[in-house]
C-alpha cells in the first residue's frame, strides 16, 4: 500500500495499520485485502459488485472495518454491501470512504449499504467521508443506507463528512420493530461550492420503538446543504429529530422536516435551527486573545466535535 492510501485509510477509518478482526479494504474498485474471522464472514457478492458481511448470532465485542479508498481519477462505482447481523450480537462496524482525486475527471463512489440487525443486537456504525486532491476532478459520494431493525435491537450511527467532498446525496432509511432504538449522529461541513443533500426516512413500526436523529452542520463559502428528515410513527413510539446548522459566508442551508403520526401514542418531535455563529461566542473567545478567525475555528470544531 502506498503513502496516499495509508493516509486516506487513516482519515476515513482511523486506521494506522491493518485492523484486528474482520476487514475488507477496497482500493480503486478492487478488494485489496480481506480477513474473515470465526464469527464474521465476508463474501464477495455474486450478482453485483460488493460484499456480504455475515455476523453469527451471539458475536460480542468484535469489529468489522470496510474502508473504501479511491486514489485514481475518473473512477465511478456503485457498490452494494449487506450486513447480516445475527441475534444477540454486539459489534462495531467502521465503514469510511475517501477519495483522493489527483486528476481532472470525476471520481464517484456510491455505496449502498443494507443492514439487517437481529433481535436484541447492538450495532455501532461509524462512517466517515473525506475527499482531497489537487486536480479539478470532482469527488462525489452518494451513500445509501437501509437499516432494518428487529425487536429490541439497538443501532447507533455516526455519519461524518467534514472535508473535501464536492457533492453528496445521502439517503438513509430505517424501519424499527418493537423496542428497537436507532440513534443517528450526523456531522457535516461543506465549503467552496460543495453541495450536500441528506434525506432520512424513519418508520417506527413497532411498539416502544424510538429514534433520535441529531444533525449538526456547518456550511461555509458558497456551499449548499439540504436536510430532509422524515419520521413516521405508526404505533406507540418516540422520535426526536434535531437539525442544527451554522451558516457562514454565502452558504445556503435548508431543512425540510416531515413528521407524521399515524397513532395517538406516537410522539414525534422535530427541532431545527439555522444561524450564524453567535456573536457573543466570537467576542468571548476574542477576549481570551484569539483572533476572529481562530475563534471561528474553535467554535466550528467544537460544534462538530
Amino acid at each position: 500500500m502506498d503513502k496516499i492510501t495509508t493516509h486516506m485509510l487513516n482519515e476515513v477509518a482511523d486506521l494506522h495499520s491493518i485492523p484486528t478482526g474482520a476487514y475488507n479494504i477496497r482500493l480503486n474498485g478492487k478488494s485489496e485485502q480481506r480477513n474473515s474471522t470465526e464469527n464474521i464472514t465476508i463474501l464477495t457478492k455474486k450478482d453485483k459488485p460488493g460484499i456480504d458481511i455475515i455476523i453469527k448470532p451471539n458475536t460480542k465485542n468484535e469489529s468489522v472495518h470496510i474502508p473504501v479508498v479511491l486514489t485514481e481519477t475518473g473512477l465511478d462505482e456503485v457498490v452494494y454491501n449487506h450486513f447480516e447481523v445475527g441475534d444477540n450480537s454486539d459489534v462495531l462496524i467502521v465503514a469510511g470512504c475517501g477519495i483522493h482525486n489527483p486528476g481532472s475527471s470525476k471520481s464517484e463512489h456510491d455505496g449502498i449499504h443494507t443492514f439487517h440487525i437481529g433481535k436484541n443486537s447492538k450495532v455501532r456504525y461509524i462512517e466517515k467521508h473525506y475527499g482531497e486532491g489537487d486536480g479539478s476532478g470532482e469527488k462525489v459520494l452518494n451513500p445509501t443506507t437501509e437499516v432494518e431493525m428487529e425487536e429490541g435491537s439497538y443501532c447507533e450511527m455516526e455519519l461524518t463528512q467534514i472535508k473535501g467532498v464536492d457533492s453528496t446525496i445521502r439517503k438513509t432509511t430505517a424501519s424499527l420493530k418493537s423496542g428497537a432504538k436507532l440513534v443517528v449522529n450526523e456531522k457535516l461541513m461543506t465549503h467552496g461550492k460543495q453541495i450536500a443533500h441528506s434525506d432520512i426516512i424513519i418508520n417506527l413500526d413497532g411498539e416502544g420503538s424510538s429514534a433520535q436523529i441529531i444533525s449538526r452542520s456547518v456550511a461555509k463559502d458558497a456551499s449548499v446543504q439540504v436536510f430532509h428528515p422524515i419520521a413516521v410513527g405508526n404505533t406507540n413510539c418516540k422520535a426526536h429529530i434535531q437539525c442544527d446548522a451554522i451558516i457562514m459566508d454565502k452558504a445556503k442551508v435548508s431543512s425540510i422536516p416531515e413528521i407524521a403520526a399515524n397513532d395517538a401514542d406516537a410522539q414525534i418531535i422535530h427541532e431545527a435551527a439555522i444561524g450564524r455563529i453567535n456573536n457573543d461566542q466570537l467576542i468571548k473567545l476574542q477576549t481570551f486573545g484569539l483572533e476572529e478567525e481562530e475563534a471561528e475555528n474553535v467554535i466550528v470544531k467544537g460544534f462538530l466535535q
Partner: protein, 242 residues
C-alpha cells in the same frame, strides 16, 4: 494603570455614555455601581474594545489602546467576564478554561478555579458548556475563566447575579484574594457585601459619573441614599431611587 479620558458613546441615536473620565491605579479594586440601564456594562465593553467610543481615549499603562481590537487588548492583559455569558455547543468546561487561560490547564488547576466559584469541579470538568448548564452554573464558570488569568485589568460584570447564597460567600472570599491574579480589578455590582471590598467606587447613572471616590467616602452615601426605604433588608441589593 487604566485611564479613561472623556469617553462618550451613542448607539441607535441614544447617548449611552457621556464624557466619562476616571483613573485606576495598579493594585486597586474599583467597584462600579448605579441604576439599571445606567451604562455600566457599556463602559466595560468600551474598555474591552467590544464597542468603540465616539470620542475620548482609553489608555493602559501609558499606551493609547482606543483603536486596538478586542484580541489586541486581551493580549495586553485585559479580560472581561460578561454579565450574560454565552454558551458553547460542543466545548467542555475544561476546554473553555484552557482557552481562557491561554494554554492547556491540567485537571487539578481547573478544579482549583472552579472551587473558587463554589462549583464542585469533578462534576463539571467534562460537562458541555451548552444550554444544559443552569444560569448560575454558566455564570460561575464565566467568573472562573477570568480568575484563571493573570491580567493587568480584570472586569467582572455583576458576578453575583443569579448565584446562590452559599456560592456567593465563596465568591466574596475569592474576590478578597483576587489581587494575586490581577493587577487591578473593575467589578460591576449592586451587592453591598461586594461593594465593601472596594478601594474605590464609581457610581454611574444615565451615562454619567454621579459619584466617585474612595470606599470610605462613597459607601456611606450609597447606603444613605436608601435610608428613606424601610423595606430594604440588610445586606442585600442596593435599590436606586431616581
Amino acid at each position: 494603570m487604566l485611564q479613561v479620558k472623556n469617553v462618550s458613546f451613542a448607539a441607535d441615536g441614544k447617548q449611552i455614555i457621556r464624557n466619562i473620565s476616571f483613573t485606576l491605579d495598579d493594585g486597586k479594586f474599583l467597584i462600579i455601581t448605579g441604576p439599571n440601564g445606567g451604562g455600566k456594562s457599556t463602559l466595560a465593553r468600551l474598555i474591552m474594545g467590544i464597542e468603540k467610543p465616539d470620542s475620548g481615549q482609553i489608555i493602559l499603562n501609558g499606551e493609547d489602546i482606543t483603536d486596538l481590537s478586542i484580541t489586541q487588548r486581551a493580549n495586553k492583559g485585559i479580560g472581561y467576564a460578561f454579565q450574560q455569558p454565552p454558551r458553547f455547543k460542543g466545548l467542555t468546561v475544561k476546554d473553555l478554561l484552557s482557552l481562557a487561560h491561554g494554554s492547556k490547564l491540567p485537571d487539578n488547576k481547573c478544579c482549583d478555579y472552579l472551587t473558587k466559584v463554589g462549583l464542585c469541579s469533578k462534576d463539571y470538568l467534562n460537562r458541555q458548556a451548552d444550554a444544559s448548564l443552569s444560569g448560575g452554573e454558566i455564570k460561575r464558570i464565566e467568573i472562573a475563566m477570568l480568575m484563571s488569568r493573570n491580567l493587568n485589568l480584570a472586569i467582572y460584570d455583576e458576578p453575583e447575579a443569579g448565584i446562590d447564597l452559599w456560592s456567593f460567600s465563596m465568591l466574596v472570599n475569592s474576590f478578597k484574594s483576587i489581587s494575586n491574579q490581577h493587577k487591578s480589578v473593575i467589578l460591576i455590582s449592586h451587592q453591598e457585601r461586594i461593594i465593601q471590598l472596594a478601594d474605590e467606587i464609581v457610581v454611574i447613572a444615565d451615562g454619567e459619573i454621579t459619584m466617585q471616590g474612595s470606599k470610605d467616602e462613597i459607601f456611606p452615601k450609597l447606603t444613605g441614599d436608601l435610608s428613606g426605604c424601610d423595606l430594604k433588608p440588610e445586606g442585600s441589593e442596593l435599590s436606586w431611587i431616581k
